[in-house]
Assembly symmetry: C2
Homo-oligomer: 260 residues x 2
């Protein structure tokens, strides 16, 4: 049975009821699995409460030293441990990790070009052996979107990219599925119509939809990640609704499957 | 070689320079080791910044739901990951854990009697097998003072007690030392004189010093923990200065050794 690498997005994390429904669905997923969670708006709210201003450039958070402390607290502490405790209560033996823990995901601080993103990391290496060792003990890693750079310490990292990097690293020796979960039923041709899910998205169709402006903005890097993962040995990539994991992954009855 | 279970106190954690010196000393300690860190005043400061009032009763923090979020963020996030990243930069392969992670330390929420401590846990069970599995991979656990209760989630827990519980659990199958590190040179007969370290403290002398008021307040539960640990199979218990681990543990040249 392949290992399922599941990414859960910020919008679901921000909603307690939706998050709980997703976690039930994740806990029920049989076999080996890994969860990668995004950050959500809690970090922005926490920063605001602490009088720290959030700066976003092209949808990405600028992570200065103060903001890094906030994301370490919120992503690595509050969100990560809440998810772990909730999964444990569902008899899913989860362990929370940042990239620094057991040096499991190392990264390089992004070079300053036109924009100084601050303490933001681009992934260098995933220690798949350590992840495999946990899975062989039926312990399921839950990753916060934080990586580690020996020189700069902990770095804020995009959770979609982190999920695909983990999937690709494990795919070197094992069968791996990569599943992006979010609040929509899949990749839609009409963002306002949940019945417009594209069941199968091949490269050619994707290029057409991009040209036509049907697929745009945040969905593009996600799907680019998906194709790269497939090229690097991941068996199956699915984009689906958060509480519909069984149907999408096990039965192929919902969500969008990306195919090379 | 025995496993060294080292506890580092809040006063050292609050001081960046002292913390760094301690971590160098911990990283240099040869053989298997586990670190348990306290909380320090950062949680109190963070709560204040967030407009949450800290209530202390007999030196213990009352942990209501809001304060629990703060301690999860600060102890489990900020402090824990900072320590892990710092140790990694010293080539010490650390992994940060709360009790919920891999369900490694379970606890029961303290019963409400005269005082309602809120989300505070008394330790039930330590999963020594999981800790041993990490140590066998040369991965060194760094524990935040947080435990896990299936019914109530993550609980705030005294770090001294957590360190002795871990030491006692591992002592069932392995040789274990327990070392309490803090800002003083050891147990002193005169709190204002760092030259008054008691090199060896046996039960009889301890009882006398307690009666005479020489040993008092916070030192009493620490030493009581120490004696209980020795009774439960821990080989050696030492109370010493944070950056003097080598001298105290390896050479026996400093600190206070507690002997039954």
């Amino acid at each position: 049975m392949p290992i399922n690498i599941v990414k859960i997005g910020g919008n679901v994390i921000d909603n307690e009821v939706k998050l709980e429904k997703f976690l039930v669905s994740f806990a029920q997923l049989k076999g080996n699995k890994v969860l990668v969670h995004g950050g959500g708006k809690i970090a922005t709210q926490m920063a605001k409460n602490l009088g720290i201003e959030t700066q976003m450039v092209q949808g990405r958070r600028i992570t200065d030293a103060q903001m890094r402390d906030v994301v370490i607290m919120v992503y690595g502490g509050l969100v990560n441990k809440r998810i772990v405790a909730s999964l444990q209560s569902m008899d899913c033996n989860a362990i929370g990790l940042s990239g620094a823990d057991a040096c499991v995901i190392t990264a390089k601080k992004r070079e300053v070009k036109e924009i100084d993103y601050g303490f933001v990391g681009d992934i260098d290496k995933v220690n798949d052996q350590f992840i495999s060792s946990l899975l062989s003990q039926n312990i399921f890693p839950v990753f916060a979107p934080l990586t580690y750079d020996r020189k700069h310490g902990i770095l804020n990292t995009n959770a979609d990219t982190q999920a695909s990097a983990i999937a690709e690293a494990l795919a070197k020796s094992k069968g791996v599925n990569l599943i992006y979960c979010f609040e929509k039923k899949g990749v839609l041709t009409d963002i306002n119509n949940e019945d417009s899910v594209i069941p199968i998205l091949k490269r050619k169709l994707y290029e057409k939809y991009k040209l036509d402006g049907v697929i745009y903005e945040g969905m593009i890097p996600k799907i680019d990640n998906a194709f790269r993962a497939l090229q690097n040995g991941v068996k199956k990539v699915i984009i689906c609704e958060a509480d519909d994991l069984q149907n999408a992954v096990v039965y192929g009855l919902s969500g969008t499957q990306i195919i090379l």
